[in-house]
Symmetry: D2
Subunit: 285 residues, 4 copies
């Protein structure tokens, strides 16, 4: 008889009545809204909404979905309705660095990241012990220039077999093929160890050190076809000074990277993130 919490998200072209289309139907169905955020981008002319609401056991979400679908179509809405206890399946890809993976697995274990992790994929064996301790299947798929296409096919198979709804590149260190990028566009999150668009490409901390910057940062972004150019979800920074050599920036960066990536994954999973062209709308907490 207990209440269920739901999140309804939608986006569509900016038009009069979009909010009312959502809130009106919720009201008609006696559904109590606990938090609501909407934003209308006057530049891209698109509307974004996220509503938390609760239902009691008389609520039939199938009926509601049908009712909402009719409205959504009228406004050309892309939308999603999920109970807050829904745990999307997330495949994590790593290489040898463990700081991001370690944090994702820990947050998952204590329930701070409400996800299932059906698979961890790596081109190296190094992090298998860690995966095993958290009881997550670990797929070692080595990669060379010659086997790249074949390896990516295996990766893709695992992603599909596990019904993944999100792929997280937790310092995977491999450049995905254009084909793979297109397949994952909008539902794979990468962590880049600089404040993009600054210091794209390889060795960003070394680049940053060369320039004598006084801050370092990390960027979590969706993958698209343009390397390190996908829509940004979150960015975090820390001050540094002259006494940081590149290896010190790398060490400091570990904390920034894991915090940034974990936060971005949480925002995505809590349906706080909307794609808006090459930018994002994030109703952060």
């Amino acid at each position: 008889m207990s209440d269920t919490q739901w999140i309804l998200t939608a986006q569509c072209p900016s038009r009069l009545g979009t909010i009312d289309a959502v809130t009106g139907l919720l009201y008609q169905n006696q559904l109590y809204i606990t938090e609501l955020h909407s934003f209308d981008d006057c530049n891209s002319q698109r509307f974004f909404i996220r509503a938390n609401f609760r239902s009691d056991d008389r609520f039939d979400d199938k009926t509601f979905r049908n009712e909402f679908l009719e409205r959504a179509n009228r406004f050309e809405m892309q939308w999603e309705l999920r109970p807050t206890n829904y745990r999307p399946k997330v495949v994590i890809m790593v290489s040898k660095f463990d700081h991001c993976l370690n944090d994702l697995l820990y947050q998952h274990k204590i329930g701070a990241l409400n996800i299932e992790i059906p698979a961890i994929i790596s081109n190296h064996p190094d992090l298998e012990d860690l995966a095993r301790w958290y009881n997550i299947p670990y797929h070692r798929l080595p990669i060379t220039a010659d086997t790249k296409a074949q390896q990516e096919a295996q990766v893709w198979q695992i992603i599909q077999d596990s019904n993944a709804e999100l792929v997280v590149l937790a310092r995977y260190m491999q450049v995905l093929s254009s084909d793979m990028c297109q397949k994952l566009e909008g539902w794979a999150i990468n962590i880049h160890h600089s404040l993009l668009p600054g210091f794209k490409g390889a060795k960003p901390y070394h680049q940053a050190w060369e320039k004598g910057v006084k801050t370092v940062g990390a960027t979590a972004h969706y993958i698209n076809d343009d390397l390190d150019e996908g829509p940004i979800i979150t960015q975090e920074i820390e001050p540094v000074d002259h006494s940081y050599y590149p290896e010190d920036l790398i060490a400091k960066g570990r904390d920034i990277e894991r915090m940034t990536l974990t936060r971005a994954v949480r925002y995505h999973v809590e349906q706080r993130v909307f794609l808006n062209g090459n930018r994002t709308v994030v109703f952060a907490d």
Copy 2:
């Protein structure tokens, strides 16, 4: 023919249909919502909403107000409707320190704080030149233990004569009488130079130094009858270290105080702040 931007804010006891009461009427009146935030405090059982919308010249806000009043009453709503170009009258009270006043006047001058300042009140003559340069009337009302009641009566007269909607204590340095506090409760903002509730009372930077803290902060809060205990609007901090003597904390604090106070005033003026018992709801930007 040009559009007008409006902000509608409301709060009331938590009940089904509160959001729809707002968004439904806006839709019926063909009013376009550009941004909407709502929050339902499941602890205090109160609901808060802030909607930005725009109207064209067919909009008659008197009619709308009447229509909304009927709904508002049904939900026991406290509410307010204002065009975004509305400039509330703000009386500023100061003593000798000029850093907060200087920032408020500057932000006001460049239009970043959308307010009118009908009067500056001080118990000292020091800041009259600054006020004059910004063309703001300056009232010098000296105060002694003996003349406190009389001085506060004069202060109150000025506040009333100027139709002030907000009073800002920009380092006024005088303890207001209980009577004055009650009169100003909920519409006077004070800046306290510590992270409240830490270091209440006098010389907070000296207190902080004694404790060897590694951060200092400032708190902007509404006045109520309990000194330094009113609802907090904003708090900001900066790291410090062992090399900061009390005078260095004071110097560093100047920037923190002015930023914090100016931000709180802006949030209040932009109708982002709601009283929620002894706490606040702030739909920040």
Copy 3:
């Protein structure tokens, strides 16, 4: 033939010649200083210095220590000389919360915390698996009101047997006896989940929520006899808003606590922290 890196730290009453006593001897011994920080607290009238230097294989640290001892005595210096690869033994005490322990063990594993961990002590069995995965001996010592003295005796025995140079209370959740506090004074670090001296005692996040604060923080401090009043090493904060219920503050606090505690332990281990009465001098990086 490779160089060794050393850290020399000292503190003493403020007197002319204290720096020269250090730098002069280093120079005479042909030791190259790579980084030097000194601070003279004009209030406590004490002097603090930390020098990084490198030696080649002709360096005999015993001879150097004898030479330095003579100077140190003249200035009433407390001092310490250690190679940077020295790994002090650190005993960690925990209860049921794993976020701080997890981070300490991870940072230890990847070499970011240059320590040995001879023992983890807990009054609960919950974190034994975690300890085991990192191959650290785990001592479960349950505690009740009746067995407190006896349990603390066991704790003390383990600390002594393991030759611990530092004890870290990583959310141990038990109030140590006055006797135990005295034994550990100055070489045990506690994490308190608030910005001390604000919200001392139990349930600080609930206290913070009651007050409607807009920031939450954590404080790592040395233990002394006065609960939550020992010298502060580091403090960190994060902004929060009205939408955070106490459980959200607790969740957010987990990241702040582990970052703050790990940083404080690292600073201590890297000999960056000096006691200065009830305050500290920290030559941070």
Copy 4:
């Protein structure tokens, strides 16, 4: 009889004995060091030192300078000795934006920036009133493509006539000629409204908005011949989100820019900044 405070700074190639050369002589002269920072850049192989010390009235700085000169020459040191109450002459260049100038003048007035301002130079008349209120001579030197060389000659004349030791470009908005950049290299500070090297060139906030960044920042740096590429002194950032249009980034940026520039000028004036190739060493407070 009162004490005088001094700051001695030096840099030179990394060699054994550099610190001792400074501290030893201070000791021989019975000069009390209150704070000392040194750093040895193992990459550029250069050494940097900054010492605060105090003298009584028996101190003859001319004699000391002669003694130090001999040592300095031996180590190829660039060095400077100044009493802390020395107020260098700073010429400020502005265009129409007043936020940076307003802050510099205010901090100067209250003594937080220990400088003299012999001249403000602008290509527009807009900020003359502000300059006048602070009693600073204001030189209006309009500039067109045709008169650029001539205008820069006038600017240079004013800089020379006023014996300026530092030039501050407080949003001057004009690209200096290569010749002027060379003249000012290393002793002119510019504020750029982005986190360099990101978003060089024109309209950085618009560039940032296009990329959908989640942080904006400002960079204070020395001028050199490569536009927006000079050595960075300080960088500060603030988080932003999707609701910030370019004009909101500009508004938020005003506070970041003025804080960053004022801090950089203060660091320079307090002799905390050392050029280190295309990077800087900053002994910050």
